[in-house]
Symmetry: C2
Subunit: 171 residues, 2 copies
Amino acid sequence: MIIVNTGDGKGKTTAAIGQIIRSLGQGFKVCLIQLFKGESFYGEQKILTKLDNLDFFSFSKEHPFCIKGVSLQEAAERCKPALEKLKELANEPKKYDLIVLEEFNISLRDNFINKNEFIGLVKALSEKSDIIITGRGAPQELTDIADLVTEMKEIKHPYNKGVKARKGIEF
Amino acid sequence: MIIVNTGDGKGKTTAAIGQIIRSLGQGFKVCLIQLFKGESFYGEQKILTKLDNLDFFSFSKEHPFCIKGVSLQEAAERCKPALEKLKELANEPKKYDLIVLEEFNISLRDNFINKNEFIGLVKALSEKSDIIITGRGAPQELTDIADLVTEMKEIKHPYNKGVKARKGIEF
């Protein structure tokens, strides 16, 4: 099954984390591949890395829009090993019940990862594993092949009142 | 901060679980109060109950719409201890950084819990802790007092193609 969590609201990443916890609780094996997230910054990383049956990979940890001094070209370059990892998983026998591709929609939006190549890999992987792809702005070609698409829609958000991101809530 | 996860799409509960993991990872103390969910059925329960700094309470485990043989009156009666728990938390000094009230929107919809009483308690609790309330159909009175409201909107769901709920995905 191909699952997409998209939209401008809160909950795309946390729902994927919840899904990982649910899956691990049922005794399944899970792979989390994360883009654009500095390690040990996000609270979830501290718990997830301690859990059995979860393999956690993190690539291109700094996104140019968030971290000054990283060029678009560098970020794209640093996404290449993520795509290589997907190819490796697609070519080897089933290893995971669930594969979570965190913020990959952003890598497609910014052309860091080739959309057609990515979609081909997701299709191939979904024959062995359930796949969750997160990030705002999921492209139509991805939602077309997905089985389950949820838009996390912002109804009300404290950012709009000038409240800053808070530890334990946004990271 | 008062956070509401509502809407008909997937991700309300899993986003709350992800938020619990994030919060625990930052070293915070969390309380999860769950309604209408039989224990040891949902994968997440098997992981969450093993984590430090999380207190987990479950009330009114069977909802009449899901489990035959439970009357609406019985379900309402079994929600009373959940409300008592909230009163207890509201009256004692701060114990938790985050309190998650799972499926409480359903208890309001079905009049198992008095809406005004609940909203008063959420307001009181939010002075000490962040509060997350989940469940479809959040009442206007609740979204009015919330700081952050996300609608999990179903764009595409395999149920509509006749696919049944799957272990590790829906439970």
